[in-house]
Amino acid sequence: MPEISLVQAINLALARAMADDETVIVLGEDVAAEGGVFRATEGLLDRFGPERILDAPLAEGAIAGLSVGLAAQGFRPVAEIQFTGFIYPAIDQLVNHASRLRTRTRGRLTCPMVLRSPCGGGIRAIEHHSESPEAMFAHVPGLRVVIPSSPARAYGLLLAAIRDPDPVVFLEPTRLYRAAREEVEDDGAALPLDRCFVLREGSDLTLVSWGAMIRETLEAAELLAAEGISAEVVDIATVKPLDTEGLLASVGKTGRCVIVHEAPVTGGVGGEIAARLAERALVSLLAPIERVAGWDTVMPSPRLERYYLPSAARIAAAARRALAYQ
């Protein structure tokens, strides 16, 4: 089994889905001949031809909108938005149409589409290329929001997203595209879209994160381990719907929780996780829940990026505060 990167796993899942189901259509800007600016769709044009992978004119709102039309007609469009900074014109279509077509027509028309987009910072990109807008989508009823943190999970979650009968926003951490490789079996097996993943077992506290921040979170767990602290690391992966039971199982065991995300802290998904833990796990909590997140600033350009992104040291410090709480 070959070791592949996260972006190769995305490519593998797209090819697998297209081979398995002829209604799967890939479209977006520069996805065909170019193979996508990150090469996520490389080779698909040669393999599947120009009627299965379409270079769309440069109009993100219409790419999302025409995907709604395709989906209502029985296709499974997988549309790529080149960067999350360009995804905002598509939000009208996601909020007003994709997410509610099933409800509005009482199931007569449905919208099994996937909107993929690279997200997050840390690649020294120019402005508008580094944001983490998952909370905006998580607020929309009718959508699912997925963020993978490893090649294997990217493969299984993307297959699940494409096969899901409802619209899915699939955010791919740009920083992880080529950061690490692992063995991924192209077995066509999907992962569940409503379960979190325990990446490291521990007993003293729970570190909750998703996407690119999983790297710093795992690093923080290593730092803490060197101090004799046993941290459990939970990858949320499906930001919507949240796996409340999975979170409760971990925090119920450890009694302490630090939530880590790259997006700005205010209105972030971390707030929702903290609220659920406060509602359902208060008696298990031994310390206040901590959030280590992006600041409530505009995502800075590359020169200040490292001061914005939560570091392993910041996460470990929050963990130590939680453990020191009496």
Partner: protein, 377 residues
């Protein structure tokens, strides 16, 4: 439409000693069509379908039905039994002309003033009353299953038509996506983006602008500096034309021509139907705040139903008893629909959960239980 791109003729024309003038590289023309004048008199030879009296009577009935539905909907709203409703008074020829030209397996993507087209295509008046009465079941059409529901956010459904047309083209079917929207929608990016892609991909789509001259309070002259809305197609690389939107014969003929072109692989067409909004924008609007009676009243002489009636009386010996028979039939149909709507069983509260996702997430299942518990109390 006439398009002349930098061909030899044009280059030659600039080489006649006036070298200081820029070369003309493209020329465009927008044509307008009409068959019946406001008095119902044919102004040119009518299309073939007009030779069939039953067909012309059906067009007339379609418009009378739309207006009758409209009047009932307004009455229900005024008596607190329907939500806000956008009357299509005076624009019946646009909707009926579209639907009459379409095949059953074409796909209609309406905005919110096309009930005349929806009724023609088999959407029932009960379903439409339900929709405007605030019940999603009204968009679960028993007929016209692939047609899109009414679209309230202006122009946002136009990209959907591009997707539907792409689906049709990819499957090599000879169906067409037909999308209607208003003059205000032409100011939106959604419409510009959709027209552009439909042109670039030469999709089987027909776009119809119901230019009723008013986007709530803003007249079309304030909406755009463009002389016509039809010319928005020119920038997208396909044909645009104006049609007398008060002439159902012209509407049907223009849409039929555009559909035939699309089926033959000729790509999209944009039709600007020149109609007039005789009523308020919706029942929540008071148009007297921004336009006077003297602005509106001349347009009553143009309206489509009287126009076709005058034609039928003159050319097809439409009698008083034909007229009364039709009015009675339609009134009784709409009355029965209104009665059925008013006694329609209320929707189940859990329906708002059951159609949010096909597979109900666990946390939403929990909310569903909580909502049902609260509803039971």
């Amino acid at each position: 439409m006439l398009v002349e791109k930098s061909d030899d003729k044009l280059i030659a024309a600039t080489a006649d000693g006036r070298a200081d003038l820029p070369a003309v590289v493209a020329k465009f023309e927008i044509r307008r069509s009409r068959f019946l004048d406001p008095a119902g008199k044919p102004v040119r030879a009518l299309p073939d379908f007009a030779r069939d009296r039953a067909e012309m009577a059906a067009l007339y009935r379609g418009m009378v039905l739309a207006r009758s539905f409209d009047a009932k909907a307004v009455a229900l709203q005024r008596t607190g039994r329907l939500g806000t409703f956008p009357s299509a008074l005076g624009q019946e020829a646009v909707a009926v002309g579209i639907a009459a030209a379409m095949r059953r397996d074409d796909v209609l993507l309406p905005s919110f003033r096309e009930h005349g087209a929806q009724l023609w295509r088999g959407v029932t008046p009960v379903e439409l009353f339900l929709f405007w009465g605030g019940d999603e079941r009204g968009s679960n059409f028993a007929q016209a299953r692939e047609d899109f529901p009414i679209c309230v956010p202006v122009g946002t459904h136009v990209p959907h038509a591009v997707g539907v047309a792409l689906a049709i083209k990819l499957r090599r079917e000879d169906r067409v996506a037909v999308c209607a929207f208003g003059d205000g929608a032409t100011s939106k990016g959604d419409v510009a983006e959709a027209l552009n892609i439909a042109g670039a991909w030469k999709l089987p789509a027909v776009f119809v602008i119901n230019n009723n001259r008013w986007a709530i309070s803003v007249p079309v002259a304030q909406q755009t500096a463009a002389e016509t809305l039809a010319q928005k197609a020119i920038a997208a690389g396909f044909d645009g034309e104006q049609v007398d939107g008060n002439d159902v014969v012209a509407m049907r003929e223009a849409v039929a021509r555009a559909l035939a072109k699309a089926r033959a692989g000729g790509g999209p067409t944009l039709i600007e139907a020149l109609s007039y909004r005789l009523g308020d924008h919706t029942t929540a609007d008071d148009a007297s705040r921004y336009r006077s009676d003297s602005e509106v009243s001349p347009h009553w002489a143009e309206e489509p139903i009287g126009r076709l009636r005058r034609y039928l009386v003159e050319e097809e010996s439409w009698t008083k008893s034909d007229e009364e028979g039709l009015i009675d039939e339609v009134a009784s149909l709409i009355d029965r629909a209104a009665e059925a709507y008013l006694v329609f069983p209320p929707p189940a509260p859990e329906a708002m959960f059951d159609f949010t996702y096909e597979i109900l997430p666990r946390d939403l299942a929990e909310q569903r239980r909580e909502a049902l518990g609260a509803a039971a109390e």
